[in-house]
Symmetry: C2
Subunit: 789 residues, 2 copies
């Protein structure tokens, strides 16, 4: 079996988390099969149902690793629908409005801490990287110049390899063996989480530690990766940690903030954490909010957004304050983000440059599509052949070696010398240059990629020679592509910006010769446009990327050029393939719900989409039956129904829907031996018994029920959700999709017109229908659903 | 009867637009009354239902004008739910994916034009105001100096009054007699529209013209009002006009963009228009997007937001381009918005200033709450006593006179002189000052309020004398309060900013004496904080206001001070009353849905909230019956049901729900004589017959049906929405609220557990339950619903 290591490398104990698609033991299904029901059978005349039946058969086929059109059954959904059971009503009645005010205060406090702690971690990462890189590159620069004289250039080369491999080795061992979900930038994982998919362990403290240490290792190791993407993941994990008042990693429960222990509340905090992460990374509080909304929120809520914005502003302020203090500029607040492009005030543009920006964007889109396509092939290769942790570590070390080699060869072969003085680098390295000169390429390689991007934006014209830029673009393009997806913790923002800035600067040289108004051709401006185009071509983000770049450049008037560039990049790239994050999400088979239902799908009905038959429970149900049902099926939600009735002239084979109960609720009930209760004793049970177990409920195998207990019965009515949203079997796919997406549902029972449950629609049933756009064509495809991915 | 003129001054021909609350003719109700139904009767034991019944009785009471807790029955909802009928499916099948691509292209084009045309109108308004004000104030300045020498200062005073009254008279006649919905800033109206309430005539071309001309008149007339708020309304109207390809005002139909003729599509464009308006007004494209989202969108959609952002960026670019050209700075792009606070780069702040900002915010919140409370009392006075158009015109002229008088008295009495040279004004007026000096107050009064705000922000310290600022704050505070709500077209952003900037600058003088680090006390910085605090105290906007101010000051690093100030202002203000827009919305009884359902309302059930009995139709219905039903009821949506059946042992008195059909659809069917059709002839009918009439369908009285035709029957099935969202009668209020709000519904049929319709919930039924927060207390109130408001 092939394993997708892109999102969830080890899926231990996820085996019984499979969702509704698995066939369940027919003994425990107390509803009839489809064939007996005249409600549905009329629909079979519909040809599209037949095609759907055919596609269900296809699911039995084996799935090739690396396929983009298969959904995995192993991901669970988060549930954003409030369970309005008796316990909630009881709690509401007891707590009153004072509790609401306290809850609001708690929320603001938590968001404050999310902002502050995210920023402090960012500072720690930044200071560590800065210190270690100074040591490393200072040492290397000295060594190169010493050994050049002796003609023993292989010595610093070996040192360089060593300095790259050691941190990369540490970082990749951490990721490959200790916490595989900390690999990469973490943005796809956070995106999936905010979309409503539970990615195991994605916001745990262990992941946070692996991520933070890992990112220092890989940046110090000189990999073509940045620390900005991981900051978003760090922020998300911080938020989840603080808001829950408990930690599974440390096995401690502070018993505070228990009322935030539900998916909906946690998601809100995680949105804030992601925004605070962006804000700390780029000094872009508004961009952070927009990122969080663009990637996550489906339902815009004014007060939530205001709180997210607060966390973002606190984050950038804290970072600024601490870093300014550290760099000896106390109170000057010069460091709004980890990555700061510097102030671009001097630039202006004219109307007739807009087509040029669009061309740059289109070029970036082309390059981005190529990058994505290579990276996709690489990811498939990794899935097939590089599954073992030690192989992953080896690959990371190989990339670290290749990075040093590429840098060394460029410095050695391209003797690009510039006079000292207008020196933009900390460690001017002479190599083979004459006295009073320094090697430009060495200065690019002997600093962090962030500093290189800044140089390319702000260096005066003619600092860089055309050949150096050209080879640099090619080398860095492939290096960054090879690096993304390694078992190390690093992002792709900075390497993409660097590649783009380099080719933007390169193309500006060409423009200088053909363009009428030479005053406007500032290479730094075109480096910025190139950087935006390249990054836009890779990730295909829209409004948030524009605003992030506007904020990092501290230039609002550059909005139109950026929007034109990013639009052209997105449209060009989308012609060939999806954004890189989406490719990785698809590779891992996550049932991701897009913003809108697929177009022209009003002729697909609930009866074709739903899973059936379903396993349902009675209002008062036998404990042994429940335990067996939980063991034998992998469903996560069970309709609670009246028993089917037998009338004189009407035979119902399905029961009327009375409520919906979750697997996790049933397990908590059985675990706490809450059965044979009368309505008098309900008042002793409160919602906290469910919250104490959140979010990792015990599995059914952990239940210890005696044979006596199995004969008891449990009244499910006080715990179930008594009025779940339902739709008729004749509802169309877009109708279900909008309901599901807008309200963040996990289960949508499908009823017939006697209000009897005949099927269930979950996230996977809807995510299966996906729009594809390719080379100007458009359509809807039906994905396969498989356990094998 | 008292009439609310704040939102909809004349409600001609709205008489039969009343919604479900009106009692309908019992002859045409084919469902039984509540008493007969055992489904519901069990609920009556519930004490909260009894209290709800009691409150329904209260509705018969007469409502006092100016009450804030009454909803009017006269507003209709917009419908954002797609009607998935046969015609839609048929159209989808015929058009295919090429049509989807064409539709997307059309959308981008429309958003481009929305941005451009909004900006061009803004330029036109700006240039007109600029030209006329230069003439006016140049003339006045000369006259004052001439007549001071002769000792006949009453002459320029009379001229001043004249110059104020003439434009204000024109503007207020236009608004009071020609198009009353153009009064005020238009923001509350746009806010209601985006929330899903149909405000009659709010986005018509006639309104656009009245607004544009009116705003020029009132600003030239010297009223304490700005042109920025109206720009948002202008943008919204432009968007509605362009996207529909037809104009009711001009009675022309271009027959383009017909597929955008539905509430949902139109709302999307109007969001874009509002954003483009903000963007043009403040040069704040990101702020515009956030404004549009904060005030309108309930469901965040990535691609829509991206288009809105595009329109905003195009708008600020076009404005910048045209104004730069007009002011002779071609290509320099110095005018990103109508209102530009200038660049604030020089400011920095320290951590220990944050509490000071919070205090400023709290003070602004106090002043804002006072302002709102006075303006509310004034609005009630206007509703009671100033209903006649001529009285409204008189009041506007009185305010114009008072404005001139106040200015004149201040110039005359406070002889605040400064030496020329550091002169920040165009028309230095000497009055009683010595030679080489000018009167500071005359320079404030003899320019537009925008220019005065800029002076207060950027004038060097000690330009303004404490007494002048003090009197100016008092005078302008009351003048702006009196002006808002007049029958003229102007906004409150600029006067609030001006008041706030003046007291901010005033307080900074005090701070200068008590504060340790005097270098930080730049009066301009505190003027900015004061301006933000005052505006925030009035309108209580959050993220969008912060971003708008960040963008107009072109300073991203000032985010934290602004957020602290605005948060303090909002919290302080909310302690006393609501934001001014909300007060005006409540005054007019608009059923506005807030972001979240009221807290602790899970014990209110659908069966108490719904309207019943309901009027329903059969699948194939008699034409005469439909016509009569439309005449006798004022419902806008009718459930289509199976006839009730009589079984051996089960008597159903309600019919099973088969679909939902709208009044407008029925009228179009009857008007086009679409009856007695067989399924063969359906293919001749397409969805365009409904679109051609959108959005102003004929009334039922316009139908001309012969007696013969009344005996025909019409098959409603191809036109009705066959699977409307429904909930059970046991669903809670929050559950219905979330469904309704997230999906933008207009009608929510309530069914029993046999799927029979027993009631209907509309916007008013949900908006009736409102949270109140007052002086730290919190609760839920049930509003009255009345026809009399």
């Amino acid at each position: 079996m092939d394993d997708i290591q892109v999102l969830v490398p080890n899926d231990d104990n996820d085996a019984d988390d499979e969702d509704e698609e698995t066939t369940s033991n027919p003994d425990f299904i107390n509803t009839a099969l489809i064939q007996g029901n005249e409600e549905i059978i009329t629909e079979v005349e519909n040809p599209s149902l037949l095609s759907s039946l055919r596609s269900r058969l296809n699911k039995k086929l084996t799935v090739n690793a690396g396929s983009l059109n298969v959904l995995s059954t192993k991901y669970e959904s988060l549930d954003y629908d409030t369970c309005e059971n008796y316990l909630l009503l009881d709690e509401e009645r007891k707590k009153g409005y004072k509790f609401i005010v306290r809850k609001i205060t708690a929320k603001w406090t938590i968001f404050l801490f999310i902002g502050m702690i995210t920023a402090l971690i960012a500072c720690l990462i930044d200071i560590s990287i800065d210190t270690l890189c100074q040591l490393k590159y200072g040492f290397l620069s000295d060594y190169v110049d010493n050994y050049v004289i002796r003609g023993q250039l292989y010595v610093p080369y070996l040192y360089w390899i060593g300095f790259n491999i050691i941190p990369v080795f540490i970082g990749s061992v951490l990721v490959a063996y200790w916490e595989p979900v900390a690999a990469g930038s973490g943005i796809p994982q956070v995106k999936c989480y905010l979309n409503g998919v539970k990615i195991p362990r994605v916001v745990r403290i262990k992941t946070l530690i692996a991520k933070a240490v890992g990112v220092v290792c890989s940046v110090v190791g000189g990999l073509a990766g940045g620390k900005e993407g991981p900051m978003i993941h760090v922020g998300a994990a911080v938020a989840a940690g603080i808001s829950q008042g408990k930690s599974t990693t440390f096995k401690s429960d502070l018993h505070i903030f228990r009322y935030f222990r539900e998916d909906q509340e946690k998601r809100d905090f995680v949105s804030g954490g992601a925004a605070a992460g962006v804000s700390a990374a780029f000094g872009a509080p508004v961009g952070g909010v927009l990122f969080s909304l663009e990637e996550g929120a489906s339902f815009w809520n004014q007060s939530l957004t205001w709180r997210i914005f607060f966390a973002s502003v606190v984050s950038t302020f804290t970072l600024n304050f601490v870093l300014s203090m550290y760099y000896g500029e106390f109170g000057n607040l010069l460091f709004p983000g980890l990555f700061n492009l510097g102030h671009f005030e001097e630039f202006s543009y004219s109307l007739y440059e807009l087509p040029v920006f669009a061309l740059f964007g289109a070029f970036g889109g082309l390059l981005g599509a190529l990058w994505n396509s290579i990276n996709y092939k690489l990811a498939v290769f990794r899935i097939r052949y590089l599954q073992k942790p030690w192989l992953k570590v080896m690959e990371a070390c190989l990339v670290a070696t290749m990075t040093a080699t590429a840098g060394f060869l460029m410095i050695y072969l391209l003797n690009d010398c510039k006079p000292l003085g207008q020196d933009p680098t900390k460690f001017p390295t002479q190599v083979y240059c004459g006295d009073g000169q320094y090697n430009v390429l060495a200065s690019i390689w002997f600093q962090t990629p962030e500093a290189s991007v800044r140089s390319l934006f702000h260096d005066p014209p003619n600092t860089h020679n055309v050949a150096s830029l050209f080879y640099f673009v090619i080398v860095y393009f492939f290096l960054s592509c090879w690096t993304f997806g390694l078992s190390t913790s690093n992002g792709l923002f900075i390497p993409s910006l660097l590649t783009g800035a380099a080719w933007g600067r390169l193309l500006s040289v060409g423009l200088f010769y053909i363009y009428p108004n030479k005053a406007l051709i500032h290479p730094g401006k075109y480096a910025l446009i190139g950087a935006a185009a390249q990054l836009g071509g890779l990730v295909r983000m829209t409004i948030s990327l524009t605003v992030i770049i506007m904020e990092t450049t501290d230039n609002i008037s550059f909005g139109l050029p950026l929007i034109v560039t990013l639009m052209a990049a997105k449209w060009t790239g989308d012609y060939f393939n999806d954004g890189i994050y989406d490719i990785h999400i698809q590779l891992s088979g996550v049932p991701f719900l897009s913003w809108d239902p697929p177009p022209l799908s009003h002729n697909i009905y609930a009866s074709e989409v739903m899973s059936h038959p379903i396993a349902s429970l009675k209002n008062v149900e036998n404990v042994g039956y429940i335990a067996q049902l939980l063991k034998d099926t992998s469903y996560n939600g069970f309709p609670v129904v009246d028993p089917p009735i037998l009338n004189n002239d009407e035979v119902t084979i399905y029961g009327k829907l009375r409520g919906l109960i979750l697997r996790s609720q049933l397990i908590v009930l059985l675990q706490n031996k809450i059965f044979n209760e009368t309505s008098d004793s309900w008042s002793n049970i409160n919602a906290n018994i469910f919250r104490d177990e959140y979010p990792r409920y015990p599995t059914v195998d952990k239940l210890d029920l005696s044979e006596m207990e199995k004969t008891y019965s449990v009244d499910l009515r006080p715990y179930m959700n008594p009025s779940p949203y339902t739709v008729l079997h004749s509802a169309s796919l877009p109708r279900m999709f909008r309901l599901f997406r807008a309200l963040g549902l996990r289960h949508l029972p499908i009823v017939n017109d006697r209000n009897e449950v005949i099927g269930m629609v979950t996230r996977k049933d809807l995510a299966r229908y996906r729009v594809w756009r390719h080379r100007g064509q458009m359509g809807v495809e039906e994905l396969l659903v498989s356990k094998e991915i």
